[in-house]
Each structure stands twice: as structure tokens, then as C-alpha cells.
Amino acid sequence: MSGREQTVERERVIDAPAKEVWEALTDERLLSEWLGDEVELEPYEGGALSVRTEGEERQGGVAWVEEGRELAFTWSREGEAPSLVELSLEPALAGTRVRVVERALAGPVAISGHAWEERLTALSDAVTLALV
């Protein structure tokens, strides 16, 4: 049990059709308004990605694309282990659900989904206790 599995998951429902959200995920000009200050992206499998934000730079590449639905890329800050980011869209009652999963690629995948959230609660409790 030496694998380091670190995953962050977020969801957000945006009141807009998937097509408009997808544009914001794949158009460099739009990406530069939310993913970073200056984003370059070749939105196809194997394409390059670079994201500059306030003096920090990330380099990476597109892992896979499912047109209109999912964009996955790896990226890393200089000197750091890379992580895999999966951005996916699905229709929701009030628009489009954006789901993001960022997973550190330093170790084997060991923990999934909801088990993580429970354990994370335990972790943050313990961290709080340890720091008191």
C-alpha cells in the first residue's frame, strides 16, 4: 500500500447549453479568460498545452478528446509531477454540468469516487487535530 493516490473532483452546473461551454474549454482566446492568463491549446489528441498564470507556467498535452463532451490533458508545473485533468460535460436540468477530475500521476490508482470523500473528511479532521 505504497501508492500515492491524490485526486480532486469538482462539479458545477452552468446555465448554458453544452455547445457554449465546450467552446470555452477548447478556444484559446476563451481559455485565456478562465484557465490561465495566457493559454495555448491544440485541441486534439497529442496536441500541446501551455498555461501561464501570474509568473507560473504549466506545460502539458492533450490526452484525449471526445468532441463536445470530454477533454483530457496532462500538465505539470516545472519540477513537479504531472497530473491528469479530465473535463467533461453532460446535460443537466438547469444547463450543463461541468465535471473536473485532477489526479496526480505519481502513483497507481487506488481509491475511487465516494470512498475518497469519506476518507478526506477523516483526513481533514485529523489534520486539524494534529495542528492544534
Binding site: Q6, V8, R12, V98, V100, A122
Partner: protein, 108 residues
Amino acid sequence: MTDAVFTALADPTRRRVIESLAARESATATALAADLPITRQAVTKHLGALRAAELVSVERLGREVHYRLDPRPLGDAASWIERVGAEWDSRLDALERLVKSRRGRGST
């Protein structure tokens, strides 16, 4: 972050042991048992699980075994999760604002 760390922290009694250990530089199982509503044997068992997760280190002083808290396994994982989570919260805020503002412009 190891699976062992999560397993170790999932138990509320073990979190009490951590809390008690965090209050001292190091402690014996006997001293910890005096603090907690459990037996020395139970404390030793929990310390074993915490050792397996590398959250606790052990030092032998003569006939006594002293346990010491090592919060590094918590710190590494917690800080990465916290940082990356906060980054995505603010990126998603910005994405939502962007998409909404473009909608606004489109409809007028």
C-alpha cells in the same frame, strides 16, 4: 497519500490517539492510555496501525517504547488536495462568469 493513512484516520479512536499524541513531544502507550477511555492494549493496537501508515515513529528508551507523531504523510497529501481544489474552485468560478457574460452579450 497511502491507503494505510486513510484507513488509519478512518477510526475515531485513532484520531483521539493522534490528538493525544500531538499534545506531547512523545509518549508511551501507558501514558496515552491514561488520557483515553481505552486500555493500554487497545492503545498499542491503534499505535500499530498508525505506525503502518508512517504517521507515528517509535523510539526505544531502555525498557520503554516512546511514540512520536509524524504529521508529514498528512501534510503532503492535504496540501496538494487543498491547493488543487482551491485552484479549480476559482477556475470554475471564472468559467461560469465567462460563459454567462457571453450569453448576456449574445441575447442583447
